[in-house]
Symmetry: C2
Subunit: 168 residues, 2 copies
DNA sequence: TAAACTGCTTGCGTTATGCAAGTGGATTAA
DNA sequence: TTAATCCACTTGCATAACGCAAGCAGTTTA
Protein backbone atom coordinates (compact mmCIF):
# COMPACT_ATOMS: atom_id res chain seq x y z
CA UNK A 1 0.00 0.00 0.00
CA UNK A 2 1.25 3.46 -0.90
CA UNK A 3 1.96 5.42 2.22
CA UNK A 4 1.17 9.13 1.95
CA UNK A 5 4.29 11.14 1.34
CA UNK A 6 5.16 13.59 4.11
CA UNK A 7 3.64 17.04 3.79
CA UNK A 8 5.75 20.17 3.89
CA UNK A 9 3.37 21.70 6.42
CA UNK A 10 -0.23 21.56 7.61
CA UNK A 11 -1.07 25.03 6.34
CA UNK A 12 -4.14 25.01 4.08
CA UNK A 13 -2.54 27.19 1.41
CA UNK A 14 0.52 24.99 1.38
CA UNK A 15 -1.48 21.78 1.21
CA UNK A 16 -3.60 23.15 -1.61
CA UNK A 17 -0.39 24.11 -3.39
CA UNK A 18 1.01 20.63 -2.90
CA UNK A 19 -2.06 19.15 -4.60
CA UNK A 20 -2.70 21.74 -7.30
CA UNK A 21 0.55 23.66 -7.55
CA UNK A 22 1.76 22.68 -10.96
CA UNK A 23 1.22 23.87 -14.47
CA UNK A 24 -1.55 21.53 -15.49
CA UNK A 25 -3.78 20.20 -12.69
CA UNK A 26 -6.14 23.18 -12.62
CA UNK A 27 -6.26 23.33 -16.40
CA UNK A 28 -7.28 19.68 -16.62
CA UNK A 29 -9.91 20.16 -13.93
CA UNK A 30 -11.19 23.21 -15.80
CA UNK A 31 -11.67 21.16 -18.97
CA UNK A 32 -13.63 18.53 -17.09
CA UNK A 33 -15.62 20.99 -15.01
CA UNK A 34 -16.44 23.69 -17.54
CA UNK A 35 -15.75 21.93 -20.80
CA UNK A 36 -17.57 18.71 -20.03
CA UNK A 37 -14.66 16.50 -21.14
CA UNK A 38 -14.83 13.09 -19.54
CA UNK A 39 -12.14 11.02 -21.28
CA UNK A 40 -8.43 11.17 -21.92
CA UNK A 41 -9.03 11.62 -25.63
CA UNK A 42 -11.66 14.32 -25.16
CA UNK A 43 -9.32 16.35 -23.02
CA UNK A 44 -6.32 15.76 -25.25
CA UNK A 45 -7.81 16.63 -28.61
CA UNK A 46 -9.63 19.71 -27.35
CA UNK A 47 -6.79 21.00 -25.22
CA UNK A 48 -6.52 24.74 -25.74
CA UNK A 49 -3.02 24.77 -24.31
CA UNK A 50 -1.77 21.66 -26.09
CA UNK A 51 -1.05 19.36 -23.19
CA UNK A 52 1.35 16.52 -24.00
CA UNK A 53 0.11 12.93 -23.86
CA UNK A 54 2.45 11.80 -21.09
CA UNK A 55 1.71 14.87 -18.99
CA UNK A 56 -2.03 14.36 -19.33
CA UNK A 57 -1.70 10.71 -18.37
CA UNK A 58 0.39 11.54 -15.34
CA UNK A 59 -1.97 14.34 -14.23
CA UNK A 60 -5.07 12.19 -14.54
CA UNK A 61 -3.37 9.51 -12.49
CA UNK A 62 -2.31 12.05 -9.89
CA UNK A 63 -5.76 13.62 -9.69
CA UNK A 64 -7.27 10.19 -9.10
CA UNK A 65 -4.66 9.44 -6.43
CA UNK A 66 -5.43 12.77 -4.76
CA UNK A 67 -9.15 12.05 -4.71
CA UNK A 68 -10.21 14.73 -7.18
CA UNK A 69 -11.26 12.32 -9.91
CA UNK A 70 -12.56 8.80 -10.15
CA UNK A 71 -12.03 6.59 -13.18
CA UNK A 72 -14.51 4.05 -14.51
CA UNK A 73 -14.68 2.07 -17.77
CA UNK A 74 -17.25 3.30 -20.28
CA UNK A 75 -20.28 1.03 -20.69
CA UNK A 76 -20.07 1.10 -24.49
CA UNK A 77 -16.33 0.71 -24.86
CA UNK A 78 -14.38 -1.34 -22.36
CA UNK A 79 -11.10 0.40 -23.05
CA UNK A 80 -12.47 3.89 -22.73
CA UNK A 81 -12.19 5.44 -19.29
CA UNK A 82 -14.73 7.93 -18.04
CA UNK A 83 -13.40 10.35 -15.47
CA UNK A 84 -15.75 11.85 -12.91
CA UNK A 85 -15.27 14.75 -10.55
CA UNK A 86 -15.45 13.92 -6.86
CA UNK A 87 -17.09 16.15 -4.28
CA UNK A 88 -13.60 17.30 -3.37
CA UNK A 89 -13.12 18.56 -6.92
CA UNK A 90 -16.58 20.08 -7.22
CA UNK A 91 -15.92 21.97 -3.99
CA UNK A 92 -13.05 23.67 -5.76
CA UNK A 93 -15.47 25.65 -7.91
CA UNK A 94 -15.56 28.77 -5.71
CA UNK A 95 -11.76 28.89 -5.63
CA UNK A 96 -11.57 28.45 -9.40
CA UNK A 97 -14.09 31.21 -9.94
CA UNK A 98 -12.18 33.53 -7.61
CA UNK A 99 -8.92 32.70 -9.35
CA UNK A 100 -10.52 33.24 -12.74
CA UNK A 101 -11.97 36.56 -11.63
CA UNK A 102 -8.50 37.63 -10.58
CA UNK A 103 -7.12 36.51 -13.91
CA UNK A 104 -9.76 38.48 -15.76
CA UNK A 105 -8.89 41.59 -13.82
CA UNK A 106 -5.12 41.45 -14.03
CA UNK A 107 -4.04 39.15 -16.84
CA UNK A 108 -4.46 39.44 -20.61
CA UNK A 109 -7.45 37.16 -20.99
CA UNK A 110 -9.40 36.72 -24.21
CA UNK A 111 -13.07 37.68 -23.89
CA UNK A 112 -14.59 34.49 -25.24
CA UNK A 113 -12.42 32.39 -22.95
CA UNK A 114 -13.28 34.53 -19.95
CA UNK A 115 -17.03 34.70 -20.47
CA UNK A 116 -17.96 31.49 -18.63
CA UNK A 117 -16.00 32.60 -15.64
CA UNK A 118 -17.56 36.04 -15.79
CA UNK A 119 -21.10 34.67 -15.93
CA UNK A 120 -20.42 32.43 -12.96
CA UNK A 121 -18.85 35.21 -10.93
CA UNK A 122 -21.62 37.67 -11.69
CA UNK A 123 -24.23 35.05 -10.95
CA UNK A 124 -23.09 35.04 -7.36
CA UNK A 125 -23.30 32.29 -4.82
CA UNK A 126 -26.70 31.24 -6.09
CA UNK A 127 -25.54 30.42 -9.61
CA UNK A 128 -22.41 28.74 -8.29
CA UNK A 129 -24.49 26.49 -6.06
CA UNK A 130 -26.76 25.65 -8.97
CA UNK A 131 -23.78 24.72 -11.12
CA UNK A 132 -22.30 22.62 -8.35
CA UNK A 133 -25.63 20.80 -8.02
CA UNK A 134 -25.51 20.07 -11.75
CA UNK A 135 -21.97 18.77 -11.48
CA UNK A 136 -23.04 16.54 -8.59
CA UNK A 137 -25.79 15.12 -10.73
CA UNK A 138 -23.60 14.59 -13.77
CA UNK A 139 -20.56 13.24 -12.00
CA UNK A 140 -21.85 11.74 -8.77
CA UNK A 141 -25.36 10.70 -9.78
CA UNK A 142 -26.97 12.85 -7.11
CA UNK A 143 -30.42 13.89 -8.29
CA UNK A 144 -30.79 17.58 -8.99
CA UNK A 145 -34.36 18.84 -8.59
CA UNK A 146 -33.74 22.20 -10.26
CA UNK A 147 -35.70 22.88 -13.42
CA UNK A 148 -35.44 25.18 -16.40
CA UNK A 149 -32.34 25.99 -18.41
CA UNK A 150 -29.25 24.42 -16.96
CA UNK A 151 -26.26 26.49 -15.91
CA UNK A 152 -24.11 24.52 -18.32
CA UNK A 153 -26.42 25.57 -21.13
CA UNK A 154 -26.29 29.18 -20.02
CA UNK A 155 -22.51 29.07 -19.98
CA UNK A 156 -22.38 27.50 -23.43
CA UNK A 157 -24.81 30.06 -24.81
CA UNK A 158 -22.80 32.95 -23.40
CA UNK A 159 -19.66 31.41 -24.90
CA UNK A 160 -21.20 31.10 -28.34
CA UNK A 161 -22.51 34.66 -28.19
CA UNK A 162 -19.12 35.98 -27.16
CA UNK A 163 -17.49 34.08 -29.99
CA UNK A 164 -19.85 35.44 -32.62
CA UNK A 165 -19.51 38.97 -31.30
CA UNK A 166 -15.77 38.76 -31.62
CA UNK A 167 -15.83 37.50 -35.19
CA UNK A 168 -17.54 40.57 -36.48
CA UNK B 1 14.02 44.71 -23.20
CA UNK B 2 12.45 41.42 -22.13
CA UNK B 3 9.64 40.53 -24.48
CA UNK B 4 6.73 38.74 -22.78
CA UNK B 5 6.93 35.05 -23.39
CA UNK B 6 4.00 33.66 -25.37
CA UNK B 7 1.03 32.52 -23.34
CA UNK B 8 -0.39 29.03 -23.72
CA UNK B 9 -3.88 30.49 -23.98
CA UNK B 10 -5.95 33.50 -23.00
CA UNK B 11 -8.12 31.55 -20.56
CA UNK B 12 -8.18 33.16 -17.11
CA UNK B 13 -7.60 29.89 -15.27
CA UNK B 14 -4.70 29.06 -17.53
CA UNK B 15 -3.13 32.49 -17.21
CA UNK B 16 -3.48 32.37 -13.42
CA UNK B 17 -1.84 28.95 -13.53
CA UNK B 18 1.01 30.27 -15.64
CA UNK B 19 1.70 32.96 -13.03
CA UNK B 20 1.03 31.03 -9.83
CA UNK B 21 1.18 27.40 -10.90
CA UNK B 22 4.26 26.20 -9.12
CA UNK B 23 5.09 24.85 -5.72
CA UNK B 24 6.17 28.07 -4.06
CA UNK B 25 4.64 31.29 -5.41
CA UNK B 26 1.46 31.13 -3.35
CA UNK B 27 3.38 30.07 -0.26
CA UNK B 28 5.70 33.06 -0.53
CA UNK B 29 2.76 35.40 -1.08
CA UNK B 30 1.05 33.88 1.94
CA UNK B 31 4.06 34.63 4.14
CA UNK B 32 4.10 38.25 3.00
CA UNK B 33 0.34 38.71 3.14
CA UNK B 34 -0.59 36.88 6.34
CA UNK B 35 2.78 36.60 8.04
CA UNK B 36 3.91 40.16 7.53
CA UNK B 37 7.33 39.15 6.19
CA UNK B 38 8.86 41.88 4.09
CA UNK B 39 12.43 40.76 3.40
CA UNK B 40 14.25 37.80 1.91
CA UNK B 41 15.69 36.93 5.32
CA UNK B 42 12.37 37.25 7.13
CA UNK B 43 10.74 34.86 4.70
CA UNK B 44 13.63 32.43 4.66
CA UNK B 45 14.23 32.04 8.40
CA UNK B 46 10.53 31.76 9.24
CA UNK B 47 9.65 29.47 6.37
CA UNK B 48 7.36 26.77 7.66
CA UNK B 49 8.03 24.62 4.63
CA UNK B 50 11.77 25.19 4.48
CA UNK B 51 12.16 26.94 1.16
CA UNK B 52 15.67 26.78 -0.31
CA UNK B 53 17.65 29.98 -0.76
CA UNK B 54 17.93 29.77 -4.52
CA UNK B 55 14.26 28.95 -4.93
CA UNK B 56 13.22 31.89 -2.76
CA UNK B 57 15.48 34.22 -4.71
CA UNK B 58 14.10 33.02 -8.02
CA UNK B 59 10.48 33.27 -6.83
CA UNK B 60 10.89 36.77 -5.48
CA UNK B 61 12.42 37.82 -8.77
CA UNK B 62 9.61 36.15 -10.69
CA UNK B 63 6.91 37.71 -8.54
CA UNK B 64 8.42 41.15 -9.11
CA UNK B 65 8.58 40.49 -12.86
CA UNK B 66 4.97 39.40 -12.84
CA UNK B 67 3.88 42.55 -11.04
CA UNK B 68 2.86 40.92 -7.77
CA UNK B 69 5.64 42.45 -5.69
CA UNK B 70 7.78 45.56 -5.76
CA UNK B 71 11.25 45.74 -4.27
CA UNK B 72 12.77 48.77 -2.57
CA UNK B 73 15.88 49.26 -0.44
CA UNK B 74 15.29 49.65 3.28
CA UNK B 75 15.86 53.18 4.59
CA UNK B 76 18.02 52.00 7.51
CA UNK B 77 20.08 49.43 5.66
CA UNK B 78 20.91 49.99 2.04
CA UNK B 79 21.49 46.34 1.31
CA UNK B 80 18.23 45.18 2.78
CA UNK B 81 15.37 44.90 0.32
CA UNK B 82 11.80 45.49 1.41
CA UNK B 83 9.20 43.71 -0.67
CA UNK B 84 5.72 45.17 -1.00
CA UNK B 85 2.54 43.65 -2.32
CA UNK B 86 1.05 45.33 -5.36
CA UNK B 87 -2.67 45.82 -5.87
CA UNK B 88 -2.51 42.82 -8.19
CA UNK B 89 -1.28 40.68 -5.29
CA UNK B 90 -3.68 42.14 -2.73
CA UNK B 91 -6.53 41.36 -5.13
CA UNK B 92 -5.57 37.70 -4.83
CA UNK B 93 -6.84 37.61 -1.26
CA UNK B 94 -10.34 36.29 -2.08
CA UNK B 95 -8.87 33.51 -4.19
CA UNK B 96 -6.40 32.60 -1.46
CA UNK B 97 -9.16 32.52 1.13
CA UNK B 98 -11.30 30.32 -1.12
CA UNK B 99 -8.38 28.01 -1.75
CA UNK B 100 -7.59 27.88 1.95
CA UNK B 101 -11.20 27.12 2.79
CA UNK B 102 -11.07 24.24 0.36
CA UNK B 103 -7.85 23.02 1.91
CA UNK B 104 -9.37 23.18 5.38
CA UNK B 105 -12.32 21.11 4.23
CA UNK B 106 -10.50 18.42 2.29
CA UNK B 107 -6.86 18.32 3.27
CA UNK B 108 -5.18 17.38 6.56
CA UNK B 109 -4.59 20.88 7.87
CA UNK B 110 -3.32 21.67 11.35
CA UNK B 111 -5.75 23.78 13.38
CA UNK B 112 -3.36 26.52 14.41
CA UNK B 113 -2.17 26.95 10.82
CA UNK B 114 -5.73 27.04 9.52
CA UNK B 115 -7.15 29.50 12.02
CA UNK B 116 -6.24 32.72 10.19
CA UNK B 117 -7.85 31.41 7.08
CA UNK B 118 -10.90 30.34 9.01
CA UNK B 119 -11.33 33.72 10.67
CA UNK B 120 -11.06 35.48 7.33
CA UNK B 121 -13.51 33.14 5.66
CA UNK B 122 -16.05 33.37 8.46
CA UNK B 123 -15.66 37.14 8.58
CA UNK B 124 -17.14 37.30 5.12
CA UNK B 125 -16.64 39.91 2.46
CA UNK B 126 -16.62 42.68 5.04
CA UNK B 127 -13.61 41.39 6.94
CA UNK B 128 -11.81 40.55 3.71
CA UNK B 129 -12.28 44.10 2.48
CA UNK B 130 -11.04 45.47 5.79
CA UNK B 131 -7.94 43.30 5.58
CA UNK B 132 -7.31 44.35 1.98
CA UNK B 133 -7.59 47.98 3.06
CA UNK B 134 -4.98 47.33 5.73
CA UNK B 135 -2.68 45.68 3.22
CA UNK B 136 -3.10 48.66 0.91
CA UNK B 137 -2.07 50.95 3.72
CA UNK B 138 0.90 48.85 4.77
CA UNK B 139 2.17 48.00 1.31
CA UNK B 140 0.96 50.80 -0.93
CA UNK B 141 0.77 53.70 1.49
CA UNK B 142 -2.91 54.24 0.86
CA UNK B 143 -4.47 55.74 3.97
CA UNK B 144 -6.91 53.46 5.76
CA UNK B 145 -9.54 55.35 7.76
CA UNK B 146 -10.76 52.32 9.67
CA UNK B 147 -10.34 52.42 13.43
CA UNK B 148 -10.26 49.93 16.26
CA UNK B 149 -8.44 46.65 16.39
CA UNK B 150 -6.81 45.80 13.09
CA UNK B 151 -7.62 42.63 11.21
CA UNK B 152 -3.97 41.66 11.38
CA UNK B 153 -4.15 41.88 15.16
CA UNK B 154 -7.31 39.80 15.22
CA UNK B 155 -5.67 37.16 13.09
CA UNK B 156 -2.59 37.09 15.28
CA UNK B 157 -4.70 36.84 18.43
CA UNK B 158 -6.71 33.96 17.01
CA UNK B 159 -3.45 32.25 16.03
CA UNK B 160 -1.98 32.60 19.52
CA UNK B 161 -5.18 31.34 21.12
CA UNK B 162 -5.27 28.33 18.81
CA UNK B 163 -1.66 27.58 19.62
CA UNK B 164 -2.17 27.69 23.36
CA UNK B 165 -5.29 25.55 23.12
CA UNK B 166 -3.38 22.90 21.27
CA UNK B 167 -0.51 22.79 23.73
CA UNK B 168 -2.68 21.74 26.61
C1' DT C 1 -9.50 -8.53 -42.03
C1' DA C 2 -7.87 -4.07 -42.09
C1' DA C 3 -8.33 0.53 -40.48
C1' DA C 4 -9.29 3.49 -36.92
C1' DC C 5 -9.79 4.45 -32.11
C1' DT C 6 -8.65 3.77 -27.24
C1' DG C 7 -5.46 5.09 -23.46
C1' DC C 8 -1.66 5.18 -22.66
C1' DT C 9 4.16 4.21 -22.44
C1' DT C 10 8.97 5.01 -23.86
C1' DG C 11 13.17 7.50 -25.16
C1' DC C 12 15.49 11.42 -24.92
C1' DG C 13 16.76 16.15 -24.50
C1' DT C 14 15.77 20.33 -21.77
C1' DT C 15 14.32 22.75 -17.76
C1' DA C 16 13.18 23.18 -12.90
C1' DT C 17 13.94 21.88 -8.19
C1' DG C 18 16.62 21.02 -3.99
C1' DC C 19 20.65 20.84 -1.12
C1' DA C 20 24.97 22.62 0.51
C1' DA C 21 28.42 25.70 0.19
C1' DG C 22 30.32 30.04 -1.04
C1' DT C 23 30.51 35.22 -2.22
C1' DG C 24 30.82 40.01 -1.51
C1' DG C 25 29.14 44.15 0.29
C1' DA C 26 27.05 46.59 4.68
C1' DT C 27 26.59 47.06 9.39
C1' DT C 28 27.71 46.40 14.18
C1' DA C 29 30.48 45.37 18.34
C1' DA C 30 35.00 45.21 20.68
C1' DT D 1 40.38 49.60 13.40
C1' DT D 2 39.28 45.24 12.94
C1' DA D 3 36.62 41.18 13.46
C1' DA D 4 32.27 39.22 13.55
C1' DT D 5 27.83 39.27 11.93
C1' DC D 6 24.10 40.41 8.84
C1' DC D 7 22.39 40.78 4.23
C1' DA D 8 20.89 39.08 -0.22
C1' DC D 9 21.85 36.41 -2.91
C1' DT D 10 24.91 32.95 -6.47
C1' DT D 11 27.13 28.62 -7.78
C1' DG D 12 27.80 23.67 -8.42
C1' DC D 13 25.85 19.60 -8.71
C1' DA D 14 22.54 15.83 -8.33
C1' DT D 15 17.81 14.58 -8.98
C1' DA D 16 13.19 15.21 -10.64
C1' DA D 17 9.81 17.08 -13.70
C1' DC D 18 8.54 18.63 -18.22
C1' DG D 19 7.87 18.41 -23.22
C1' DC D 20 8.15 16.48 -27.76
C1' DA D 21 7.76 12.67 -30.92
C1' DA D 22 7.16 8.09 -31.64
C1' DG D 23 5.43 3.62 -30.54
C1' DC D 24 2.34 0.04 -28.52
C1' DA D 25 -1.40 -3.10 -27.32
C1' DG D 26 -6.09 -3.98 -26.84
C1' DT D 27 -11.05 -2.65 -28.82
C1' DT D 28 -14.23 -1.41 -31.98
C1' DT D 29 -15.83 -0.33 -36.58
C1' DA D 30 -16.11 -0.68 -41.65
Amino acid sequence: MPEPKPKRSGCPINLATEVLGDGWSLVVLRDIMFGGRRTYRAILTNSLEGIATNILASRLKQLVENGLLTAAPAPDHRQKTIYSLTEKAIALLPAMIALGAWGRQFLPTEPELAIRNQVLEEGGRELQEAFMAELRETHLGIANPSSGQSVAERLELAFQQAKSEIRR
